[in-house]
């Protein structure tokens, strides 16, 4: 039995939990957020992805209540939250530095928010124990933050921000301080906890892999604007601009002019020997300048001319060996370089190609995405 796909953003009957309506935020002359409109739905794991200074942290701070929008409105569960101070919002935040109180034990850190709600002692204790169990911290309850490891501190910060069962949890670069291995484990833990608690998570990150792994939808931001909002697959397979294609993962960009060629098919004159064939649902006029974006793993590399929609000959300029994968940098007669990625299914000693080998790179008409300038 197939599960129903979680996609409230495609359902016109769903009301979003959070709405940004034409939000602009200025700091003096600097425009941090530029006329931004966005809906985030309940139970979503929403990632704000972008380079530093793109405004993602400002968006998060506006949700937490530390900043107010200069123009526009932000609403949470249908209510405008402008001017509501942070302590009156059903929103909690996990800080990048974790911001654990150094003078309190792990237990007291987690209980801190609960005690502010005038709960009974027993209710606080029950909830804290629950959180300690969820984050597997029972053994460290009596320790101070400086007596535990970075990964444990991260879990305390998460437990503390989840303890009040907020409608919305904000995570500011939550895994930035962890090493790669721990980060990967923690990503799955985060997803697991998000699913268990059913809380809406908004995560800010500059790590695209992290965003792709954890998020139900990713918003790619640049200079205070959202460039694209979509599921990780859609962002990766169907970027809407050269910026997104380039920001997420590795990509070959062939720039040239489009020429319609059959139904939803185009030929791209990119300056190579032959025209490239590409499918695109988006219409292009004859002679319109365009960019063909092709992911390296969708390009095959062969010794003989293959039967493919697009094939170009070149020679191997460089090989980047990543263990499981190898990226071949193939130089074309025009001087352009194309990256082709293959899985290393054989041992390295039996590698087919080496430096300076003449090879053919090829891809299908549907492998790439045709983007306008």
């Amino acid at each position: 039995m197939a599960e129903t796909v979680f996609a409230p953003w495609d359902d016109p009957n769903e009301t979003p939990l959070i709405t940004f309506q034409n939000v602009t935020k200025r700091f003096g002359d600097f425009v941090a957020i530029d006329d931004l409109t966005l809906d985030i739905f309940e139970r979503e794991f929403f990632a704000l992805l972008g380079p530093s200074g793109c405004g993602k942290t400002t968006m998060m701070r506006m949700l937490a209540g530390f900043e107010n929008p200069t123009e526009g409105a932000i609403s949470l569960a249908g209510k405008d939250i402008a001017g509501v101070p942070p302590n009156k919002r059903a929103v909690n935040m996990m800080f990048q530095s974790y911001a654990l109180f150094p003078h309190l034990t792990v237990w007291d850190n987690i209980a801190f928010g609960l005690k502010r709600d005038n709960l009974s002692k027993d209710a606080v204790a029950t909830r804290v124990e629950e959180m300690l169990k969820l984050t597997r911290l029972q053994k460290f309850a009596r320790r101070k933050p400086h007596q535990i490891s970075g990964g444990q501190r991260q879990r305390v910060a998460l437990a503390r921000s989840l303890a009040k069962a907020p409608k919305l949890l904000l995570l500011d670069e939550p895994l930035g301080a962890l090493d790669k291995k721990l980060r990967q484990d923690t990503q799955f833990e985060l997803m697991d906890i998000q699913e268990k608690t059913g809380t809406t998570f908004v995560i800010v990150t500059h790590d695209q892999e992290e965003a792709m792994t954890v998020a139900s939808r990713v918003a790619v931001m640049d200079e205070g604007r959202i460039i694209q909002v979509a599921t990780p697959e859609r962002i990766y397979e169907g970027p809407n601009s050269v910026y997104v294609a380039d920001f997420i993962g590795d990509v070959n960009i062939l720039s040239g002019t489009a020429k319609p060629f059959g139904r939803e098919m185009y030929q791209v004159d990119w300056g190579g020997g032959t025209l490239a064939t590409a499918a695109s649902a988006k219409p292009f006029s004859d002679g319109q300048s365009c960019h063909l974006a092709i992911r390296p793993e969708k390009i095959s590399i062969t010794a003989d001319r293959p039967e493919a929609d697009n094939a170009v000959q070149g020679k191997v300029l460089d090989i980047a060996y990543l263990g499981n994968l190898s990226t071949y940098y193939v130089e074309l007669p025009t001087g352009q370089t194309i990256k082709a990625q293959t899985a290393n299914t054989r041992r390295i000693s039996r590698r087919t190609f080496t430096w300076e080998d003449p090879v053919w790179v090829s891809w299908t008409a549907t492998a790439g995405v045709l983007l306008d300038s």
Partner: protein, 291 residues
């Protein structure tokens, strides 16, 4: 060997500049007052044995018979304690404002706090006489704006002593508190607010506990010198303010009773040792916590 040499330097310092003078004062406190130079007996001229046999605790017994002394000690402790609280009340907001000031201002603000030390302490206390006296600047100013019709009597009252002590020692309160507050991570306050604290609660539950060590250090740095303070009460407090520093001065210079004065000094030191030990322990705990 080198380590022993290095460690011996502070111990030597302590021996020469603290223990030896203390031993001398202690010896005088056990002697008898005489009309001679020096004004006490016995001295080393009579030989070690004669000297040791003639020492007694007479002066310490005398201190308990006259209620002037214990009243002076008590009054000093009270004045020093109240001054410490007042200094904290003045110093904490200043330190807080300095720590919250824009980065580029902080060095200047710090300079302004230290600046009064460039003028002689004595001159600064004298200046307060000019401000606080009946015809002083303060009364003239209050007259000028029509707030009072009768001049206020501040000089030669305990109030003047409190003003003098707070004014003189407030930098010692500001600096350690500022050091503690400046290190405070601003995101901790935001985290407290995010978890449901009002501004005031966040201050009480996060800022105060995290600047506790600075507060304790500042309080000791004010309390300890204020307890033995002599110049401020004698210049600003007049005859109505009883402080042990003044009693000590009078015993030495007016009565020329060095043995009794020394006994007073020894007791004062014993009173001071308790807060000094507490202070040291606080410093040590802080050093351990920082590791």
């Amino acid at each position: 060997m080198r380590r022993a040499l290095l460690i011996s330097v502070p111990y030597f310092w302590l021996l020469v500049l603290f223990l030896v003078p203390f031993a001398m004062v202690f010896k005088i406190s056990l002697s008898d007052s005489v009309l001679a130079i020096p004004p006490y007996a016995p001295t080393m001229k009579e030989g070690i044995w004669a000297l040791l046999t003639q020492l007694d605790f007479e002066n310490f017994t005398f201190l308990t018979t006259d209620d002037l002394y214990w009243k002076a000690y008590l009054s000093s402790v009270r004045i020093a304690a109240i001054s410490t609280v007042l200094t904290l009340a003045v110093g904490y907001p200043v330190a807080y404002a300095m720590a919250r000031a824009p980065e580029e201002w902080r060095a200047t603000l710090m300079m302004l706090v230290i600046l009064p030390f460039w003028t002689s302490f004595l001159i600064r206390v004298y200046a307060w006489i000019g401000i606080l006296s009946t015809e002083g600047f303060l009364n003239q100013f209050l007259f000028g704006i029509g707030l009072i019709s009768e001049p206020l009597t501040i000089l030669n009252t305990p109030t003047a002593v409190y003003i003098g002590i707070v004014y003189t020692y407030v930098p010692f309160m500001i600096l350690p508190i500022y050091a503690a507050l400046e290190r405070l991570d601003g995101s901790l306050i935001e985290a407290a607010e995010d978890l449901g604290c009002s501004r005031l609660q966040a201050f009480w539950l996060v800022t105060i506990p995290l600047s506790k060590n600075g507060i304790i250090a500042g309080c000791f740095l004010v309390f300890i010198p204020a307890l033995g303070e002599f110049v401020i009460p004698s210049l600003l407090g007049g005859s109505s303010t009883l402080m042990i520093g003044k009693v000590l001065f009078e015993e030495f210079f007016s009565n020329r009773d060095w043995p009794v004065a020394s006994a007073v000094a020894v007791i004062l030191l014993l009173i001071l040792i308790v807060p000094i030990i507490l202070f040291q322990r606080n410093e040590q705990k802080q050093a351990e916590a920082d590791q």
